[in-house]
Symmetry: C2
DNA sequence: ACAAAAGTGTTGGAGATACACCCATGA
DNA sequence: TCATGGGTGTATCTCCAACACTTTTGT
């Protein structure tokens, strides 16, 4: 019989949100015990321990729902983080002591990400989350554990996916203008794109179909509307 | 205090080997108890449980060494597999009963891959491996657990990396011909490549530098030799 | 001389990049 | 009439794919 060790396994979810203008990340504020209130708010991405005999994808969906009430979101696994010290910084220990039987046990985490339209989802804090907030990507505070690192790695993956045009349109309203798509892509890639070239490449896609409608109520030339038909 | 569950965590290593002609995968033959000898040999990729407070990368290196004596190989994490039933098939249970205290416990595994030159490494079975063998990629037998699936996923990743030219040259002898590189690429991508086009694209790389030397001892026109200088 | 692999250039098409002005609307 | 973002075309370049014959060596 070998020696062996069971280990705490968690999943963490990086939920990117698009508000039509900026790329955001969904954070939860973690509840603190009364005696630790003076330490100020503590933010994290939604995540928790995996249960015995629970699949990783199942765990990710369950945990996201428990903490934020979000359901039916396509989550994509991208990396496991297992540095033994990832959970042992002082800033994390006082919180873990409230919620875990073995606060300084080794925890490896399997990270997932997704990208959603902020106006199509409605996160509500629950369980040990006291609050949920969207924070702009360029404005993320210091987070619990190694969550800042996890978000950065998730963004790299998202950018790779977008460059292959394999994600993005699901995020737009039913009817949208080409400029809206371009804004989305620019926010994800964090760089400007040439308007004419971008429009050429989008118009070539068969999944984006033009409508006989225009924007209304804008204070400038109204743009043509398009819709997305998944292939 | 939340309920929580500790879980067995393992790492598994897909070691691709290049023999100058074909792409191989390193398998171990797992030892069986005497009473199970009649069941015949049982093959798997090298893998075992992670220890408490051990990083994932550290675990991967340790376990690969324990089972095959291979050391100093660059291992790259690519995916975590956590299907609760991945370890519960009948074929796996009789083996697990010999080596694990809780043979039907849920095990999630974090998978790594690497690509090595077969003539530069020398795997030797050790620990619960009774044997190590290189098997051609197209010829892999039924393996323990979900290891066939893991190998297939690893190959996809390897192919993606190679198409971005981000791996491969480390695998060639110190001095090599362009044809040798092409053979390597064809084996990994599992398809033929145009000789002239391939040579054009390689010669454009600054990391591949031509030498004033030729092959010797070949029974045909000797090729020019090149060397790889990592940037 | 023959067998075996090395070596070599051109063309056509597709896709990416760079670039500047007029248009429709509401205020 | 002005401010605002919508909308449009061309020239150039780079990259990729397709394709066949001559050269050098050992036997």
């Amino acid at each position: 019989m070998n020696n062996y060790a069971k280990i705490n396994v968690s999943v963490d979810c990086v939920i990117f949100g698009w508000d039509g203008e900026h790329l955001n990340v969904l954070l939860i504020e973690q509840k603190r015990a009364k005696k630790n209130k003076h330490l100020g708010p503590r933010y994290a991405i939604p995540g928790d321990l995996v249960l015995e005999n629970e699949g990783l994808d199942d765990a990710a969906n369950r945990i996201l729902k428990e903490l934020t009430k979000l359901e039916g979101i396509y989550l994509r696994q991208f990396e496991a983080f297992g540095n033994p010290s990832r959970v042992k910084e002082l800033k994390d220990q006082d919180w873990l002591k409230e919620y875990r039987e073995e606060p300084d046990a080794h925890v490896i985490t399997v990270a997932y990400f997704s990208l959603v339209r902020m106006d199509m989802v409605n996160p509500e804090a629950s369980s040990f989350a006291s609050n949920t907030i969207w924070v702009e990507m360029h404005n993320i505070p210091d987070l619990a554990f190694d969550h800042n690192l996890i978000i950065n790695k998730a963004l790299l993956r998202l950018q790779q996916n977008v460059e292959q045009k394999s994600i993005g349109f699901e995020l737009l309203p039913e009817k949208f203008t080409l400029t809206q798509i371009q804004n989305l892509y620019e926010a994800i890639l964090d760089k400007g794109l040439d308007k004419r070239n971008f429009r050429k490449s989008i118009k070539k896609l068969e999944t984006i179909i033009p409508l006989n409608e225009k924007q209304v109520g804008v204070t400038h030339k109204p743009g043509q509307l398009f819709e997305y038909k998944p292939s």
